[in-house]
């Protein structure tokens, strides 16, 4: 009887429904990034009296600003607000020092359908660079705006944009017995958080499958660490690892078939690779040290992980099938928590400096050079955007856990705060399937 009641209490305590979250993430965009390219995103034309569900041009401008590469002109400084190339007076923009102009208009094409027409114009040459029509329902307007921002970003930088992506993260509110943990997924600008797991016990370490359809994570809902794999569409989940001891630090392989993870079932934390089809395990490390936090290289051939086999935590690289591990980091007494860049050339990690501050650093594999890019004091959990140009990480502001976004060279783009309590452990999604 008690077991049955406990099972019901557990089910209630850990709810899995994908629920919209009332308390949203708020974003503060930092000001005045040096070297950012001036751009003007003119408010898009919209004929009807009733406001659009979302301000498409404002979303585009915010995306471009957040990348750290662009400095959008404030609307009040605009001398005119054209919505079509024929209306543009290029001198109005040259006098403001704006090289790139984004204009557009939105039209309703049905009860819940819209067509967004946008044009990216080169002010100096006086001609169109990109022009496109994008159709969307009301619910898709934000995604359409992010898609347009990606097109503009790619046209002007030559790199793929990462605005039309999502982020997973963990929130913690309350304290003591009333503490509540949640894993949420939002758009990469923090909009529209959905709760995918809620629990009175800790949740950790979200990792996305390469097709962005599933998330694996660690849950302590049974008063010990277990790894679950949850389907993003249905909310259904399966247990991937519940061995005795630690089950932690899952990392999805680039081909989607395996999880690297940490198990201490054999006495101390070691790296294993688990094949998801049959839960078979391959042991990768064998040392009395703590070996944990594995991440896959994008080519699937190796794993980078944290080990304190040399006394303190450092990063090591090992073939994904097992073998000799090579030490990567030699600067400083603490290097841990790595994430691989999508091009496989660098790692973002947590580095403790000589003053004891925990800061995000970027390590170039080819040169072995380590560059610190955040200030600390307690920065952790770096996660690359799928275009490798931006990073999200966990930080602290005014004694609360917040997320910080930055371009890879360290210019600050944004801070994301949860309305109450702490937010941490960001995981940037892969590119979303079209």
């Amino acid at each position: 009887m008690m077991k049955f009641l406990r099972a019901i209490l557990l089910a209630v305590a850990t709810s899995l429904a994908t629920l919209p979250v009332q308390a949203a993430l708020t974003i503060e965009i930092s000001q005045g990034v040096e070297g950012a390219v001036p751009i003007a995103v003119v408010p898009f034309g919209w004929g009807a009296a009733q406001a659009l569900p979302h301000d498409v041009s404002a979303i585009i401008g915010a995306d471009l600003q957040r990348s750290g590469r662009f400095a959008p002109l404030p609307t009040q400084d605009m001398l005119s607000q054209p919505t079509d190339a024929a209306q543009v007076n290029y001198r109005d923009w040259r006098v403001l020092g704006v090289d790139n102009l984004v204009i557009g208009k939105v039209e309703a094409t049905g009860p819940d359908s819209y067509n967004i027409r946008f044009q990216l114009l080169d002010v100096l040459r006086g001609r169109q660079v990109v022009g496109m029509n994008v159709s969307a329902t009301g619910a898709q307007l934000r995604r359409a705006a992010h898609h347009i921002a990606d097109q503009i970003y790619e046209a002007l930088t030559g790199e793929r944009g990462a605005f039309n992506t999502r982020i997973a993260y963990v929130t913690a509110t309350g304290s003591g017995k009333s503490k509540l943990y949640e894993m949420q997924v939002a758009d990469s600008d923090g909009y529209g958080p959905l709760s995918i797991v809620r629990s009175k016990q800790p949740l950790m370490s979200p990792t996305w499958s390469p097709d962005a359809q599933r998330i694996a994570y660690v849950s302590f809902e049974k008063r010990r660490a277990e790894i679950y794999v949850q389907d993003m569409r249905t909310g259904n989940r399966t247990m991937a690892a519940a061995f005795s001891g630690i089950n932690g630090a899952p990392s999805w392989s680039p081909d989607g078939t395996r999880l690297a993870l940490t198990l201490s079932r054999d006495g101390n934390p070691e790296i294993y690779v688990m094949r998801l089809s049959d839960n078979s395990l391959t042991r990768i490390t064998q040392s009395p040290a703590i070996d944990t936090e594995p991440v896959w290289s994008p080519d699937g051939r190796s794993l980078v992980f944290t080990s304190d086999r040399a006394g303190g935590p450092q990063l090591y690289q090992v073939p994904a099938s097992g073998g000799q591990a090579q030490r990567l980091t030699f600067e400083g007494s603490y290097n841990a928590g790595a994430d691989f860049s999508p091009d496989g050339q660098r790692l973002a990690l947590v580095h403790r400096d000589a003053g004891g501050r925990y800061r995000i650093a970027v390590y170039e594999l080819a040169t072995r050079r380590l560059q610190v890019i955040s200030d600390g004091r307690f920065d952790e959990s770096p996660s690359f955007a799928p275009n490798g140009r931006m990073l999200l990480y966990a930080s602290q502001a005014a004694n609360r856990g917040v997320l910080a976004g930055t371009s890879v060279d360290g210019r600050v783009g944004q801070t994301l705060k949860f309305q109450q309590g702490d937010v941490r452990e960001p995981a940037w999604s892969p590119y979303l399937p079209r």
């Binding site: 010990r224 940490t262 101390n268 935590p313 841990a336 928590g337 925990y358």
Partner: protein, 178 residues
């Protein structure tokens, strides 16, 4: 080198456990006779418990005045070594558990908030294992012990200074139902 040391400790624990179980086969009455031999009547033995000596038979783990009421061991930064002052605390729990083979205990390892979360899970486990080894060496059966690490995920004190961190680097000894 570390692996060899660990297996020596395990061997030592097994040897001690064997020794304890042969002692444990004696009845409570025999133990009382032994204590009388040290020089006390039953009443004196009860007083002996109050100052931390003597057996724990009949001692309730619910008693807030008993030595078993201390359930948290603290650790230095970056260390999983049990401090000598805390060994007495652990010895009390070990004697209770060795005398009550049906009793079980969960050792919860924790760390402070600094640094990488999953590495901190490893540190918390190391601390819990440290306590576990001491208890096993004192004759507690391994089936009575289970460990879990929460790393930095369940702080005792929400704070971002040395005082909070010191209170969060801990192992909690948890008797089920308490």
């Amino acid at each position: 080198m570390r692996a060899t040391w660990k297996s020596l400790m395990v061997a030592g624990a097994v040897a001690l456990a064997t020794g304890c179980s042969s002692m444990g086969s004696k009845t409570g009455g025999d133990a009382a006779i032994e204590d009388r031999g040290i020089g006390g009547t039953q009443d004196e033995m009860t007083q002996g418990i109050g100052i931390g000596s003597g057996s724990f038979e009949g001692m309730s783990i619910d008693d807030p005045n008993s030595p078993l009421a201390q359930r948290v061991i603290y650790f230095e930064f970056d260390s999983s070594e049990v401090r000598s002052a805390d060994r007495d605390v652990l010895n009390n729990h070990a004697r209770y558990l060795a005398a009550n083979p049906q009793a079980t205990i969960v050792l919860e390892g924790h760390g402070d908030e600094r640094g990488s979360r999953e590495y901190n899970i490893g540190l918390g486990e190391r601390r819990a294992q440290s306590v576990r080894q001491i208890l096993e060496l004192q004759g507690v059966g391994s089936q009575q012990l289970s460990t879990v690490s929460y790393g930095e995920e369940k702080p005792a004190v929400e704070g971002h200074d040395e005082s909070a961190w010191a209170q969060n680097r801990r192992v909690e000894l948890i008797y089920p139902g308490q």
